[in-house]
């Protein structure tokens, strides 16, 4: 009789770069079932999904536009997770940054762009940081689980936005639940004329660079990684664990806030309820797919940006519901994690 045994051993070197590719293939095979259910041809669908967006300049730039908030939320989540602080609140912190940007955009009417833009960026960073402050303080002072509090804060800020948009900030011109259009001086300049690619894209790459620098090249980064690897060991080595986690949590919130500024000042020009398509949660996917490594995170953000653009394409051309994109992203996350574990096992005959 054939007898099999499962053995655990490190994956061979050639497997490592292959793992993400295998994960992508498995994900597309699984989600092809949904495409068929939607009465579309999977090959055609994945052509529109993955290749069509890159086939012309306009939609290729759109991929970069879609990846902008994801680079930032991915960087935000990476920074917190690296220190073992489970910030699931990037979504709320992004929205806090967006509120600040919408508010400053109304106030800074007569300020020249040279001053208004730095103020927008600083304001958004601060707002995200402040929204992250309560869960972070509760965590380091009272040991209240940050996963739960950051999740709850995400829901709370939705009510705050609804309160603002149905009350004091309701657009007096249109009467829609959206804040008044921000002043021209506070709008992010376009990087490419007649496209939606804006200053936020550069801010996103600067943030990726900054977290790489901090995590890899500074004593703070060393302390953060030590805390992330093991809190008690870090404490024993003389690291102030609470202070390190607090810093990680607050900077993480600030970076997420920048994503909100970009969406308001670069895309929508006012605050709306549906400002974020779950970018904060997608940031967790991006950070995990990128292996909490800034380079990997930026590649993951670009790939998810491609998927989001592709989902729009598929929904417009083939009438497949746009939510296919959400399913593909989540499935890709779970499949990738599984492949990364499974490559360490093999089945042998004994």
């Amino acid at each position: 009789m054939l007898r099999l045994r499962v053995e655990r051993r490190p994956a061979p070197l050639w497997m490592r770069p292959a793992a993400p590719i295998i994960a992508v293939v498995i994900t597309f095979l699984l989600t092809a079932i949904l495409v068929v259910l939607a009465r579309a041809n999977p090959f055609q669908a994945y052509y529109y999904f993955l290749l069509k967006p890159l086939s012309n300049q306009v939609s290729a730039i759109e991929v970069l536009v879609k990846s902008t908030p994801l680079l930032l939320t991915g960087a935000s989540v990476t920074f917190a997770f690296a220190a073992g602080y489970w910030n699931i609140g990037a979504e709320g912190q992004l929205l806090a940054g967006a509120i600040a940007a919408a508010g400053l955009g109304m106030v800074l009417k007569d300020v020249p762009p040279g001053l208004a833009l730095p103020l927008m960026i600083l304001g958004g960073f601060t707002a995200g940081l402040l929204w992250a402050l309560i869960p972070a303080l509760l965590k380091v002072r009272l040991a209240v689980d940050e996963v739960v509090t950051t999740l709850l804060m995400n829901t709370v800020i939705l009510f705050l936005i609804s309160f603002l948009l149905n009350g004091v900030w309701r657009d007096p011109v249109s009467g829609w639940p959206q804040s008044p259009t921000i002043a021209a001086s506070t709008m992010f300049p376009k990087l490419i004329p007649r496209s939606r690619l804006h200053l936020g894209f550069l801010i996103a790459w600067a943030s990726i660079g900054a977290i790489w620098l901090i995590l890899r090249r500074t004593p703070l980064g060393l302390r953060m990684r030590a805390v992330g690897q093991g809190r008690e060991a870090a404490r024993f080595a003389g690291v102030n664990v609470e202070r390190t986690m607090l810093t990680a949590a607050l900077v993480s919130g600030g970076i997420a806030g920048l994503a909100g500024v970009g969406e308001v000042a670069g895309i929508h020009f006012h605050l709306i309820e549906a400002l974020s398509a779950g970018y904060g949660y997608t940031g967790i996917i991006v950070a995990t797919l990128g292996g909490l490594n800034p380079l990997g995170v930026s590649l993951a953000a670009l790939f998810i940006g491609l998927i989001e653009t592709g989902a729009q394409n598929v929904s417009q051309t083939l009438n497949v519901p746009i939510y296919l994109g959400n399913v593909v992203e989540a499935a890709l996350l779970l499949v990738t994690l599984s492949v990364l574990i499974l490559q360490n096992y093999r089945v042998r005959r004994v």
């Binding site: 999740l151 009510f159 994690l337």
Partner: protein, 303 residues
């Protein structure tokens, strides 16, 4: 005043029902050692499946059963990831939430298309076993599912503290190595806990779409799953205290609805946010006195 209070109590029980289902489901997962952040998505899936099957088959109970089954399957997927593969529980759970939310939205569009009018069903009727009781009658005018949820609490106490499965589950959550040495199949116990837990979470979602609303809207769960996770900590992982936590949250929520109805000129969003803020406050007060299962978040691997 009497009608106000009676109405408030009745509404409290109604609002607490999905939370009791969800929190008891999460309790099973956590006591066996798995934090299941898939709860938000599992409740969403339950709401979608319950509504859709009820709407297409015409049977509310068939819809409810289908919802529970979808939750069990989701729990099994979570078990595959976190019990068998030993993946990070935070990320797996959130992944499941995102996956099930996406799948539900995708399928909803496939089944119902894009309509200007929200499809709806005739929801579960309310039972009034003591309907003609003076004054207090309306309190007992509840959905059958509310009575089922309330009955589950003592059943859970028995399951956790008096049954063999409960003992094995608690052992797996506190000290899986010792449980394994004592002959408990930790993998099987955790898988079973996740499957049952998923079914209960989905039941909570189905209550919202099939009883309370009679329709499926995209904001149907809106953070209720996260509230359940918080209620567990508030309840210190005890089934009886789960009930009090759910009733407290339900009470704040119901009060908010009642105050709105009285026409008080207050921004209603503040009241909507109130239960979430109260939950954070309660967590703060519970603070360091909580005792989570020792092996929570730790994957078990047999070496």
């Amino acid at each position: 005043m009497e009608t106000f209070i009676v109405g408030l109590i009745a509404a409290t029980l109604r609002v607490a029902t999905p939370l009791i289902f969800g929190t008891l489901g999460e309790l099973l997962c956590e006591r066996s050692g798995i934090l299941n952040l898939g709860i938000e998505g599992t409740m969403f899936l339950g709401a979608f499946v319950g509504f859709t099957v009820a709407s297409t088959s015409g049977s509310l109970w068939l819809g409810f059963l289908a919802a529970v089954l979808s939750g069990v399957l989701t729990g099994l997927l979570m078990a595959l990831l976190t019990v068998n593969l030993g993946l990070n529980q935070h990320v797996s759970g959130l992944g499941i939430t995102l996956l099930m939310t996406g799948l539900s939205l995708f399928s909803f569009r496939l089944v119902f298309g894009e309509r200007s009018i929200q499809p709806s069903i005739e929801p579960f009727p309310k039972l009034a076993p003591l309907g003609n009781l003076p004054i207090l009658g309306p309190i007992f005018e509840q959905y059958a599912l509310t009575y089922i949820a309330l009955a589950l609490v003592p059943l859970f106490w028995w399951l956790m503290y008096r049954s063999n499965f409960g003992l094995q589950m608690r052992a797996a959550g506190e000290n899986p190595e010792a449980a394994d040495a004592a002959g408990v199949n930790v993998f099987r116990v955790r898988t079973l806990a996740l499957a049952l837990g998923g079914g209960l979470m989905a039941a909570g979602g189905a209550f919202l779409s099939e009883a309370q609303l009679g329709s499926f809207i995209f904001g149907i769960i809106s953070g209720r799953g996260w509230v359940c996770i918080a209620l567990i900590i508030f309840a210190n992982w005890e089934p009886a205290r789960v009930l009090w936590g759910a009733l407290l949250f339900g009470g704040v929520f119901a009060l908010q609805l009642r105050l709105q109805a009285t026409g008080l000129k207050l921004p209603y969003e503040i009241f909507l946010a109130l239960p979430y803020l109260v939950t954070i406050l309660a967590l703060t007060l519970a603070g360091r006195n909580v005792s989570a299962p020792s092996a929570l978040l730790k994957a078990y691997r047999r070496e």
